[in-house]
């Protein structure tokens, strides 16, 4: 049974979710053979409102989480749209997965709890600037290390390419 959480931004968003495509896109959690490197693939992803993201641990030697930056989760500063509900997959062992559906337009930043220091973070762009309710990227703050902040692909790059992989991914 895949744990699943649907993120809704309130009543209007719930109504809107019925009107958009119910696409499902995989984001893999990956690691090198000896664990020297860990990353989300893609690291940056553009999707339409209502898309379901399926996080799958494709790393046979490690466990990972997908955790939204939000005060309700470990007291982190919010880096998802205000109207969205945060998610936390919990630890996923190899081949395990977790699904979340994003309906509120905007920029969502998330991380892997045991690997944030190693730069295992990701960014999802739902919709595009100008969409009703759109909320852009959170400003940089001291909650994140400078090295981690530098890891997020820019919204412009994600929207231009659709999906962005880490520059040094094997």
């Amino acid at each position: 049974m895949i744990p699943r959480r649907v993120l809704l931004g309130g009543g209007l968003a719930a109504l809107a979710s019925h009107a958009v495509a119910q696409e499902r896109v995989e984001i893999a959690m990956r690691g090198s053979a000896r664990g020297e490197r860990v990353w989300f693939s893609p690291q940056g992803l553009a999707v339409g409102p209502g898309t379901t993201l399926r996080f799958v641990n494709r790393d046979p030697g490690n466990s990972h989480t997908s955790t939204a930056y939000h005060p309700d989760l470990l007291g982190r500063q919010r880096r998802i749209p205000r109207a969205a509900t945060p998610w936390d997959s919990g630890f996923l062992l190899p081949d395990k997965s977790f699904e979340v559906t994003l309906t509120v337009p905007g920029v969502y930043d998330y991380y892997c709890q045991p690997h944030e220091m190693a730069g295992m973070v990701g960014r999802i762009v739902v919709g595009a600037p100008g969409d009703p309710g759109w909320e852009g990227p959170a400003p940089d703050n001291e909650d994140l290390m400078v090295e981690v902040l530098a890891t997020f692909p820019s919204v412009e790059a994600i929207l231009a390419a659709g999906r962005v992989e880490p520059e040094d991914a094997p």
Binding site: G31, A33, R34, G35, E36, R37, V38, P60, G61, N62, S63, F91, L93, P94, P114, H115, M117, A118, M120
Partner: protein, 134 residues
């Protein structure tokens, strides 16, 4: 020269060996299977089925067993930050004093040892690395 040759031909002079009952899984308490302590796979490719005395975290020793329960490696996990700060990890025990090879490599972290760290892997026989690979 004679001393150097003797070192090559004899087991490496390592720390104190654990009791003989560590040679097959499961080792005696206080060792516990790592996958029961933290969310990690039961068998980790490259390291095997790991056991550790929780009181010795993060460095270990971790005892790595192959699929048949044979002790194949002793592993230490040493946070880079701790080394940089001047912390020493001395007198660590080994699963077996027969050591046929050593690998040292970087690891970005995992549940149990979240900080980026070095894995120091002591293999206890010539085929151990292959048996732990998958």
């Amino acid at each position: 020269m004679r001393i150097f040759a003797a070192l090559l031909l004899s087991p490496l002079a390592a720390g104190p060996a654990l009791a003989q009952d560590a040679m097959t899984a499961p080792p005696a308490a206080p060792f516990a299977q790592v996958s029961t302590l933290v969310p990690l796979p039961e068998f980790i490719p490259g390291l095997g089925t790991l056991y550790v005395d929780p009181a010795t975290l993060p460095a270990g020793p971790f005892l790595g067993y192959d699929h048949d329960g044979k002790l194949s490696a002793t592993i230490y996990m040493v946070p880079i930050e701790d080394l940089t700060a001047g912390t020493a990890f001395d007198g660590l025990a080994v699963g077996s004093q027969t050591v046929t090879g050593v690998d040292i490599y970087y690891n970005a972290g995992h549940p149990g040892v979240e900080k980026p760290h070095a894995h120091v892997v002591l293999y206890h026989d010539a085929e151990a690395k292959a048996r732990l690979a998958q």
